[in-house]
Symmetry: C2
Subunit: 360 residues, 2 copies
DNA sequence: AATGGCTGTGCAACCGGTTACATGATGGCT
DNA sequence: AGCCATCATGTAACCGGTTGCACAGCCATT
């Protein structure tokens, strides 16, 4: 019946060896306050000698509490998530929980499947940047406590980034350096995160009387940024704000290929701060503190789990502009093709609100 | 007794509703071959209507098979691991397993704790780049099937990288470009991976009659590489092989600060290929295919789990030199301080074999 | 018609804990 | 001394599945 021999002793063996009942052994590990200190000591000694460890599975079955939580992300390899996962992990096990990690590979169906499969083994879920539609998210939330990161669904506890403040700070910084025409290099058009960032950029640009052009990169990665660089070089701009650090880094590489120098020829601002100072020159970016998001999500979830009821929490993680070395004053004689004939810039800014999100 | 209401129906409710015994419902989901097709159909219909999903915890308790495996890594945020985790995840769930992820935060004690805690909930372990000493690894392996990645302990199934071939190819490449004096910028001195790479570099340098100098970076990250750049600039070398891509990238940034151009002034080779073409210029590196390692480890583990016995497998993942743009012919008039007075180069090469490893 | 083998299903024990309730011992109080 | 509250521990039911065994029904064989 059993697969691999576990070798682990059970509560009964400990009970026999210690000359007490199974209940007493159980209480030694779960409700020691009910026992005589002397008894506890004896059971502990025997347990130690036998190498007894309470079986979590059995405990979970009888209590209904598995001691596990699930964390589902769309793509572990996206550098936005590892710090988040790491922080969540650390906080979870401080609270006595182990973490099941799921990678949905950006597929809503896989996300659904993972949640269903894990449902019976975990007490609650943390869903980071879910790709699932709202209805299905709500369905899962009805079964088990669920906390969202980077998704704003009313009625569910959620952790969001203060994108607006970060983007505004970035654009204010550019304005103060005297940039007057800038670009926003957008991520996936259907992404909730991109919508947020783009809208924030538009509002901030208005506020500081800056002319903003939107350039699509489509994919949130280096390669897309690199491709967008060619487009940027043709625009009459002196600075660009990228969807994220990866895109920013790609833009830098693409412009370097064209012989441009940063920040002399153009200023670049990233988002997320996942590359820290590893770019050359070190990237000015908006830090989104994804680790804080992970930590707060766990905190919210454990609160829900102990209180036993969900509250409509909406927690906002502050963002912060980190000025490094990719932003500076625009050149007197800009290298950009202000006057040159150019392919028409993409100034249309998509306003549609997609029902499904993609990419943090 | 129960915490959050699960709302999930049990096998008994399905049995009653379908007018069969609990055993029959159970068999519908675990041994359908024993039942009449007609019965299966009826039970399935009822189960569907009620939203019944077999409770994994109960199943695990009675069968001893949890359907989970644990994957423990020293640091999720190290870019070497996410692809590995991702691949492991994908293969595990193809084989019907869910993955518990543990991050030991580079601490042997945390690693020990995680393994102990997860032991009762998983059928087997994958330990990537463990920080635990051999004795404790063996102790855990005695309880549950365990597969190692990046650690060579006899008697246990393990997945290793063909470091020697990769480093040799890198140095052969440099030799063919006419480099005669190069440096190896090492990682953590106590690291198993670093030992391997350094030894391989020494042997390969001998083979190609190249003079090799070892320069320590100590930590496997960008900052350490950056610091090492100052040291490198003072040495009479024309190329450097770094412990990993992160260090290589740091070296590039540090040298760029000094006004050096790559590969004109110096050639740089990384290891792991975790940055792909995101550096500027794109980094020549040895690809270690950590994703393959993850996939193979899962394969080994599921084999052990199904066969029920451990074998002394030693699987080697091939490595591959990927030539991008940071390597080239050495300059006629090298920029390095061949003749200049210099702080004495670190030519001593540590030979001690530490008992504990650090850092993949 | 009796025998035997199959097939499909049910019964009940079991996995390893937890916990409501029962019980016996102890000690303080009237 | 008698009563009752309190404390420490034991008894046994339960969590939700799985599975060895028993058994009924059916068909084929002799």
């Amino acid at each position: 019946m059993r697969g691999f021999p576990t070798g682990l002793p059970t509560i009964s063996q400990v009970a026999k060896a210690a000359g007490v009942s199974r209940a007493t052994v159980s209480r030694t590990f779960s409700r020691p306050d009910l026992l005589k200190p002397e008894t506890i000591k004896r059971v502990h000694e025997v347990a130690e000698k036998l190498g007894y460890v309470p079986n979590q599975v059995a405990r979970a079955l009888s209590t209904g509490r598995a001691g596990n939580i699930a964390l589902v992300v769309p793509d572990i390899a996206n550098p936005f998530f590892p710090p988040l996962i790491r922080a969540a992990q650390a906080h979870a096990d401080q609270a006595g929980y182990a973490v099941f990690l799921g990678d949905s590979d950006e597929q809503p169906e896989r996300e659904d499947m993972l949640l269903t499969k894990m449902a019976t083994q975990v007490e609650g879920f943390i869903l980071a940047s879910p790709r699932l539609d709202e209805k299905r998210v709500r369905a899962h939330a009805a079964r088990r406590p669920l906390v969202l990161i980077n998704r704003d669904i009313e009625g569910l506890p959620r952790v969001l980034m203060d994108v607006s403040a970060g983007i505004t700070a970035a654009i204010e910084h550019l304005a103060s350096l005297n940039h007057r025409r800038i670009a926003y290099v957008s991520g996936p058009p259907a992404s909730w995160a991109n919508q947020q960032r783009e809208q924030a950029a538009i509002r901030a640009a208005e506020k500081f009387a800056i002319h903003l052009t939107a350039v699509p990169a489509y994919h949130p990665n280096h390669e897309a940024g690199r491709r967008a660089a060619g487009e940027l070089a043709k625009l009459p701009i002196t600075a660009a704000v990228a969807f994220d650090d990866l895109v920013a880094q790609g833009i830098m590489a693409g412009l370097a290929d064209l012989g441009w120098h940063i920040p002399q020829d153009i200023s670049i601002v990233g988002f997320d701060d996942v590359l820290a100072a590893t770019t050359y020159p070190p990237l000015t970016t908006v830090a989104a503190h994804s680790d804080d998001a992970g930590a707060q999500a766990v905190k919210l979830l454990t609160e829900v789990l102990s209180k036993g009821q969900v509250q409509d929490q909406r927690m906002i993680i502050p963002t912060e502009l980190i000025i490094r070395a990719t932003t500076g004053k625009p050149a007197k004689r800009p290298r950009t093709a202000f006057a040159a004939p150019r392919s028409k810039p993409k100034v249309e800014i998509s306003q549609q609100r997609p029902e499904r999100t993609e990419t943090q």
